[in-house]
Symmetry: C2
Subunit: 163 residues, 2 copies
């Protein structure tokens, strides 16, 4: 028995995620698509697919189209969820440019504990839903982060940042 333990490396998680997203976009995932998306060579994809097949996360047959098993799909969705949540936080709360936010989310998604993820999500929801605190926050944050465009207006009247 070869480690049925579902402990995936960051790399294998990337493959799973890529397969899932490609399948969503264009129906089915072919090795070439995966290679392009992950910016690796086709040979590397073959290797990864074999490993994932051993773990029963993808259905793989040589020269055939790649699909996720039920388990594989479940795990892929988990990863996508993390990615999306992080992206949302970086974009909406920290106001990081999309591309950069996406890249960093990609790195973090493999190591973030569930527990911490929930906090990120809660935080983003709070900032988005709370028009008072959220708005103050975002404006202050931008003013603070980017003094160039900073107006002097004090949105938060008790705030020591409004010097």
């Amino acid at each position: 028995m070869s480690k049925s333990k579902t402990e995936l490396s960051a790399s294998l998680e990337d493959y799973l995620e890529a397969i899932f997203l490609i399948a969503e976009e264009k129906g089915a995932a072919r090795p070439k698509d995966i290679a392009d998306r992950l910016d690796v060579r086709a040979a590397s994809v073959t290797g990864a697919l074999k490993t994932l097949a051993e773990k029963a996360l993808v259905n793989y047959a040589p020269y055939d189209i790649v699909t996720l098993t039920a388990t594989g799909k479940r795990i892929a969705k988990e990863i996508v969820r993390k990615h999306s949540a992080l992206l949302r936080f970086f974009s909406n709360v920290l106001d990081i440019p999309r591309k950069e936010a996406d890249e960093f989310a990609c790195k973090m998604e493999h190591s973030i504990p569930d527990h911490v993820l929930e906090r990120f999500i809660g935080f983003a929801e709070f900032v988005e839903k709370c028009p008072n605190s959220g708005a103050i926050w975002q404006n202050k944050a931008k003013g603070y982060f980017c003094k160039a465009q900073g107006s002097n207006q004090t949105l938060c009247d008790q705030c020591s940042l409004s010097e």
Copy 2:
């Protein structure tokens, strides 16, 4: 010339950081201390030290004490700065338990872009310094994250979360 490019792996950055912190705590870093701190075997430390010495980041001589070069120290401080900033954010803003916050900071510190780091820092400063928005935020956050201890009081009167 063997890659004077200062592109360090996450692993090597961990060694650098460990050496720096050990040196701060107890004056000098010995391989054993490093091994204990990073939870690797002594033999692995020797290997890493040789690599770091090649890159002129540590002063290494067999059986001698390990010190950082000026460059090594500069880089180590950068890493520590990132680690501290992330830890602060996770602890003070997201209210993650210390240990977990520390572990996750340890993973993120190697891949976070400067740009993003500054946002985290600004965010933490804002929440800490702004007694109005900050306090509302934190209380709502706790209430939101942890319904078990959630009182019904509405700190933010325009907030749609206070249902």
